[in-house]
Point group: C2
């Protein structure tokens, strides 16, 4: 409790509003749509039914609040991942920004491809090339320096199609879903193949998910006293690839509980969906399917980003809900 | 909100109690001692002053709730670590329990030393021997199996001096401190050199710290479908040694924010204390000094567990509070 009377009053006001909501109970909830950007239908109903089931005390499906863990992929699930992963756009911009200090990059792949905007050669460099780009742009500075670089970039970069900050391209229906789950006692986590330190500077502001609830791929760090000050240096060495079978590993390491609900959009989320749903008790799995070429992008089985093949095949037998963005979502982005 | 009227009533009751507390404000806080097991003096006053400072809105020392991160070492800071780390006692018991399946251990160090209760030979095996013991007893099963083994052991094992469950040997003043910080908007984390999966099964029940707020040393895991079920297999390979310079690394990986307060008892906490306190803004560092041979144990600079040498020397110049357990603590354990 703060000592400031204004702070005290607003805490009190918040509590009284919560108490009023608690007193009015189900009736009020039924009248107010917690997911206004979702069209009525099987997807929306399945979410509402699941939340009702696990929050109904004294029934077999009830789940106590501390165990209400929900994990969300980020790229393609919470925000747009086309025409390329946002973090890749960041890495390419960083290569260009740093190229003055690296004249050798003009004649060295995959850097040369980046500087020439030669995406075909870049694609040929494959995963090995990608790791080289990441290490050259994400390592070799302190965690504080990287946080500033990532924050500055995300504040100024624009999506090529929508000409808006990338953080505007978060899906409004998913923001509502995050808030709805939290209002029902869930703790929401990001579990992304993307870099943990790339997401943390803005995840709280954009998603309401604090840094300690962000799980992602990471590079190693090393503690050093640098000019008399404690620092963590980012090293050019992979720590965790939080993708595919790495997602349950990251979940176990960071959360230490098995989620009861998981949300993804690609085969990179397949094992997270298995881990969350193939267990006893009420569970929920959901796949965001990119079916809306007009409002966003349409892609799945053959996409180089967000390939959705194995997980789509397995959805039915696992009871995972496949959301069609075109049909299930009334609204795509907040600005639209 | 749950649909059950009983559940709703108790949520409502809780909110009204909170609202009443909020309404009565500072006056009530001043009358009620949040740290009754702490003797009056510099240590207690420094804690109260720090919390008052960072929670007073509109002042330069104010820290917003999301940034009120406090990290606690476990062994020797929250619970007793003598005559040996609890987790080592667990590992020794596991070697004995598993020895029937490992006849070769009778003639192989460090296992032979364990089976013979030959602590001198065990000490000679050093860190390499310790790692061998940990891998033989902590790896090669699923995370769910290990959780059960650790939970069963902690429920039945007894401390050799106090003849009580180890979870009774948590320091009552530190439990009060954890609760006091949380009541003031802090998120409390364990950051321990001990195994993360060894602490998680009981940290919520004993400390009120949920699994996702436990940081510790870890071994690698691998996702597998085992007999049709998703499993995480614990591998005999070190992932993170969350001790000394590894503590800021673990904090950054799991929390992603710099703590504003850190609590430790040994040189293993030195870098965590530096990381938390050597930064701008109001910060707090505290060392639990084991000075009470009668109620617990007295040790510091030369101890094999909880060696406190470098951190003790640095305490004064860093403004870290050194708590004398003998003088500062009215009460040691809840049962005492």
């Amino acid at each position: 409790m703060t000592g400031n009377p204004v702070g005290r009053r607003s805490v009190l006001a918040g509590l009284l509003i919560s108490a009023a909501t608690a007193a009015s109970g189900d009736h009020a909830l039924a009248q107010e749509d917690p997911l206004p950007s979702w069209n009525e239908g099987r997807s929306k109903k399945s979410i509402l039914d699941f939340v009702a089931a696990v929050t109904r005390e004294g029934t077999p499906d009830f789940v106590p609040v501390p165990e209400r863990i929900a994990t969300f992929d980020n790229d393609g699930t919470l925000w747009c991942e086309q025409p390329m992963y946002v973090q890749l756009a960041f890495a390419l911009d960083r290569v260009k920004a740093l190229s003055g200090k690296h004249p050798e990059w003009r004649r060295k792949q995959p850097f040369q491809a980046v500087l020439d905007n030669d995406l075909a050669s870049l694609a040929k460099a494959g995963e090995k090339g990608l790791v080289e780009l990441i290490m050259a742009t994400h390592a070799g500075m302190t965690t504080a320096e990287f946080e500033k670089i990532a924050s500055d970039w995300i504040a100024s970069a624009r999506h090529p199609k929508f000409n808006r900050p990338y953080t505007d391209l978060v899906y409004q229906p998913m923001l509502e879903l995050l808030a709805y789950l939290r209002a029902n006692g869930f703790k929401t986590f990001i579990v992304s193949g993307g870099g943990i330190e790339f997401m943390r500077p803005w995840s709280e502001r954009v998603y309401g998910i604090p840094p300690e609830q962000v799980v992602g791929s990471s590079i190693k760090t090393k503690f050093e006293i640098d000019k008399g000050k404690p620092s963590l240096i980012r090293l050019p060495a992979i720590d965790l690839v939080d993708d595919g079978p790495g997602k349950p590993v990251g979940i176990n390491s960071h959360i230490g509980r098995r989620p009861i609900a998981a949300f993804g959009n690609s085969d990179g989320d397949f094992q997270m969906l298995q881990w969350a749903t193939q267990s006893s008790g009420k569970r929920f799995g959901l796949i965001v399917h990119h079916t809306d070429a007009e409002r966003e992008y349409a892609y799945d089985r053959k996409s180089s980003f967000g390939k959705l093949d194995k997980a789509l095949d397995a959805a039915n037998s696992n009871g995972w809900i496949v959301v069609s963005m075109k049909d299930d979502w009334k609204r795509m982005f907040r600005f639209a």
